[in-house]
């Protein structure tokens, strides 16, 4: 037991070191700075509970947290359905490792063009004079350009799904690859239909992958601020934007307070999810 512990510690040491130096220490320092009253900083002693009072007492803060969670829920559902289907196709319908690899690489390539450039390109794609509107107009499906394609809740969701589906695909695909093919054969031999195999064999065995993908997507959407800002044309606010707006005017204490509430919220959500499926237990 003790030797096993030491072995695990050694293996986990590099990770611990990185997180200690580049995550824990810096965050502690920020917290310390927000308390500072020293001459060097004027962010002053207003890291009091006033910031929390405001957060919990303000209708807007509740609304923004609500919207952020709603957005996370919608994007989670969409990426789950799309991601599961894509992973299923890759894992069970593509027969060679080589082609699985190639298709996976092809899904990654769009992300090697900088996100800023891709963000800019949504305007010519979805804007009033954009490709999609032109195509729809050309096909006679609409009479005037659709406004809601861009700078709307729709476009924010679209961009999230675009960015994060892959984060669902990868872990689900990996757990699917661990499913013993003999189990599926056995189910088929026992007369199970394709759909029954999917729901009774594959889906339960893929749960840890789904859970990991869900953690990715929920964490990414909840802490985002760039995508929401860009794609809604600043018309929608999520928690990340509250923090960014505060930081922009050097309101560090207020930003830290919001960040703490965000962090706790997301960890609680993820903690609850892990109660349903313990990804570590099923290793």
């Amino acid at each position: 037991m003790r030797r096993a512990n030491i072995n695990s510690w050694l293996l986990a040491a590099p990770l611990t070191a990185v997180l200690a130096v580049f995550l824990v220490l810096p965050i502690l320092l920020i917290v310390a700075v927000s308390f500072w009253t020293a001459d060097e900083f004027t962010f002053g002693p207003d890291f009091q509970f006033g910031n929390y009072d405001y957060l919990f007492g303000s209708a807007v803060a509740w609304k923004v947290f609500g919207l952020t969670m709603l957005m996370a829920a919608i994007v989670w559902a969409l990426t789950l359905v799309i991601g599961f289907t894509v992973a299923y196709f890759l894992a069970f319908h593509i027969r060679t490792l080589k082609w699985q690899m190639v298709l996976f690489l092809l899904t990654t390539i769009p992300f090697w063009t900088s996100n800023i450039i891709r963000m800019i390109s949504w305007i010519p794609l979805l804007g009033k004079n954009g490709l999609v509107n032109q195509a729809l107009l050309g096909a006679g499906l609409i009479d005037e350009p659709l406004q809601w394609l861009l700078y709307s809740g729709f476009s924010v969701c679209l961009a999230f799904v675009h960015l994060y589906t892959l984060f669902m695909v990868v872990p689900i695909f990996n757990t699917m690859m661990r499913i013993d093919r003999a189990l599926i054969e056995a189910a088929r031999d026992a007369g199970a239909s394709g759909f029954q195999i999917l729901t009774n064999v594959i889906l339960p065995l893929t749960k840890p992958g789904i859970m990991i993908g869900s953690i990715f997507v929920i964490a990414l959407v909840m802490s985002d601020f760039v995508t929401t800002r860009f794609m809604s044309g600043s018309q929608l606010a999520n928690v990340g934007r509250l923090i960014a707006n505060d930081i922009g005017l050097l309101q560090y204490p207020s930003a830290s307070a919001t960040a703490v509430v965000l962090l706790v919220t997301v960890l609680l959500i993820i903690g609850a999810m892990l109660r349903v499926v313990d990804i570590r237990k099923e290793l």
């Binding site: 510690w9 990770l15 490792l97 690489l105 490709l131 661990r178 570590r280």
Partner: protein
């Protein structure tokens, strides 16, 4: 080879639609990169030209695309390798419960959730106050690892999920050392998944802004440089860069296909059955 079921074609069509969706912005970028010399970043096209590809290789008014590209490439590879190695090690560690494993696990999840700008600011503050200074290859490297490692490690969770220990036990019974078990049994089994981790590591680093922005020292990475450039007039040069990146990546993928095919043929000739299994 057995006949494809009908579901293959339905799912295949779904996958194709998904790819079209993923490539939507890429296609727009490709079209607009051929914008005429007077054109901008949006439709309409004002003529068709190779002007912006030419401009891409000349000095920009603001920013240094190629210098920052080189830095991003090197940094991306550094982060990629580190992410794979550290994630595999941590993944192995997490296969057993150890004292402190729960704390470490939630720290990993926390690292994913915490607003990136706070990480960036904290790291910058720490290295500034300690007089160590910030540089893209040190502070930015570390800050990016706090971003890529959670992904790498959680993917390793999926990989080691229901990982059959029977192979390892068999090897150990035959007298293999711990290292031999890892190198000859575990590693080959998880290797394909590591390609995924590596790709994630590289892509996440290559495109990272929020955790890098305050800690890259006085030389920017590519996304930071482009971000800085958008605070002034930008041109379809950015699109030309996107188009070239995509073309280069597609060529790379084609090369990988050819290389793998050649290797498989060579192996098949040598009688090995590795990599042949129809999945």
């Amino acid at each position: 080879m057995e006949k494809r079921p009908a579901s293959f074609y339905v799912l295949g069509a779904f996958f194709a639609a998904f790819m079209l969706f993923l490539y939507g912005p890429t296609i727009t970028i490709a079209i607009l990169s051929f914008q005429g010399p007077d054109g901008g970043l949006t439709f309409p096209l004002r003529g068709v030209s190779l002007n912006w590809f030419r401009e891409l290789f000349m000095d920009q008014a603001v920013g240094d695309i190629w210098g920052s590209f080189r830095r991003s490439l090197v940094l991306g590879l550094m982060v990629m390798v580190t992410t794979v190695v550290v994630s595999v090690m941590a993944g192995l560690a997490f296969r057993r419960h150890f004292a402190g494993s729960t704390v470490l696990f939630y720290l990993v999840v926390g690292s994913l959730v915490i607003p990136s700008i706070l990480v960036s600011m904290g790291v910058g503050l720490l290295f500034d106050r300690t007089g160590l200074g910030s540089h893209w290859a040190t502070t930015a490297f570390g800050a990016q690892l706090t971003w890529t490692l959670p992904f790498g490690i959680l993917i390793m969770f999926a990989v080691f999920n229901r990982f059959n220990p029977a192979y390892e036990e068999a090897a150990r019974d035959q007298g293999a050392s711990t290292w031999q078990v890892f190198a000859h049994v575990v590693l080959p089994l998880i290797a394909p998944a590591l390609v995924g981790v590596a790709l994630f590591g590289f892509t996440l680093s290559y495109d990272e802004i929020a955790r890098t922005i305050l800690v890259s020292g006085s030389r920017n990475t590519l996304p930071l440089e482009i971000w800085g450039m958008t605070t002034n007039v930008t041109s379809p040069v950015l699109y030309a860069l996107g188009t070239l990146t995509t073309l280069f990546s597609l060529t790379l993928v084609a090369a990988v296909i050819v290389a793998v095919t050649v290797m498989q043929r060579a192996r098949a000739r040598n009688g090995s059955d590795a990599g042949k299994g129809d999945l």
